[in-house]
Subunit: 344 residues, 2 copies
Amino acid sequence: MTTKYHVAIAGATGAVGTEFLRLLEERPFPLASLKLLASARSVGKRICFRGEELPVEELTSGSFEGVDIAFFSAGGGRSKAFAPAATEAGAVVIDNSSAFRMDPAVPLVVPEVNPDDVLWHRGILANPNCSTILLLMALAPLHRLAPVRRVVVSTSQAASGAGASAMRELEEQAAAWLSGDPIVKEVFPHQIAFNLFSHNTAIDATGYNEEERKMVHETRKILHEPDLLVTATCIRVPVLRAHSESVNIEFAGDRPPLDAIRDALAGFPGVRVVDDRENNLFPMPLDASGRDEILVGRIRDDLSHPQAVDLFLAGDQILKGAALNGFQIAEILIERNAVKRQAA
Amino acid sequence: MTTKYHVAIAGATGAVGTEFLRLLEERPFPLASLKLLASARSVGKRICFRGEELPVEELTSGSFEGVDIAFFSAGGGRSKAFAPAATEAGAVVIDNSSAFRMDPAVPLVVPEVNPDDVLWHRGILANPNCSTILLLMALAPLHRLAPVRRVVVSTSQAASGAGASAMRELEEQAAAWLSGDPIVKEVFPHQIAFNLFSHNTAIDATGYNEEERKMVHETRKILHEPDLLVTATCIRVPVLRAHSESVNIEFAGDRPPLDAIRDALAGFPGVRVVDDRENNLFPMPLDASGRDEILVGRIRDDLSHPQAVDLFLAGDQILKGAALNGFQIAEILIERNAVKRQAA
């Protein structure tokens, strides 16, 4: 008999939580029970799941009794506050926040890239930053083909990365702009409609913002390459839910031919190559929205460096950038019989 | 007595032509007369200039009798067809199209960068591509500070680069999206509202599109550095009239300190450094719109390369990216007494 699992979602009413629910409905999953958790102000809401109306309960330290797998997507503060209670109660936590990502005791996993890392968890596994996951989906197959030395990446990040309210703000600002009404800024510090701006996370002494630092450090951790050279510029753009990235990848030695690079990408699970030069059809966030796959294209020689290749990618920030990747971590934990933590 | 000049604008009803008219009204310019030229379908329109209503005349080979300075911004086809007639009639042509930019007999000028190149014109001077001009405004002062070896640039280009109709298309698509109506695509091949896509110019055997090739080759010509290494990825974004660029600049030798780089940028005419880390305020296309200056910020160490620096810039595509730069070419021709072509 298949083992079935008791699942809790902390942050069940958010953009990522909603997609996690949809994945639980659509993909085969040995579900014993489902608990929806959110902040006090969502208590009383009911969410339809597999034809049943499930109540939203308040996320507290006591929420995790009997839970096997707890998916957290309620912000870093709540992860820090409640993940210990969840692991204490015996649940494995798959955390979508940045709270534990760089903790050496916590695996940071993109299932297509470093699945074996799920095996050494001690109760918490971290879902990487969305921009990092998308980058890794293109970078990992190339790094397997031939070692990569340096990455220069510029992102174009959708509003969804700041939550469902940011997506609404983009649409509301666009409507206000078009009708000549004043622009209201609540989620973002700057107008996002018909504008773009440097990612509004804190900048440290290096001059990099937090999003850029995540791309540098998480990439190294996931690839187990502490010396990989990465520079990132992260920009927020007026797009709803898929991120795009312009990526320059320099190999350590001779660069594999373009055909080999294209084949490595096309053969990597979760990647779709969209690279139609004749019809000028390449990855676009609109095409990536609602899709599980990362779209990769504009694969070409870097005319400025014989060991480098340029490419452009787009991927759904809420799916592979968050909920889907977290869900896949749960799937692989189950497949590897690793839901229960290993002895320390 | 100051010499006064007879000026013609070919493409007077377009987005760039309109700005050129505004510049002629706002800046001191020794104007003797002004002739507004456009395609046959604009004939009959009247445009207000310095309180007078000027008629729009049809652009023909006979339009340039008595004209000293002809500003062309009516597309490459019309430049090729009518610029020879203008020079034949004795006018100097300042051409905003790509028709003559890479012609070795035609100076390609950003007045702050290579003003002396105006002196060797033979009747035609070319205004560089908008993305190239903006890049050069940040690149040139750094290249003067210490030789630059390689540039990796990713652009986020506004709709205005495809003309006033493209700006309308962006707003109309946004309105349609918000009201759930079908998206009409006439100017761009892909939806631009709430989306972005690889610049839709033709891709050649190198895999670079035309816009990217312009950035590579025009940059080299303007800097007189035929071996400068440049790779560019050009992306169209849902912004109305200012382009942004994420730029990684690698120096040939030791990199100047950040302070020296910041000072070189701040001291360069036409550049404004916007680099407020504490308040997370950096160049944004909305702030650059309608401004003459290029905004440059996010000036920081490239953590992946000791000889490189990262920066981010934004500039008005219609102003410094086109009309203003062309107008400045005219100003410098007058200042250097070089309106009349030099003997061959």
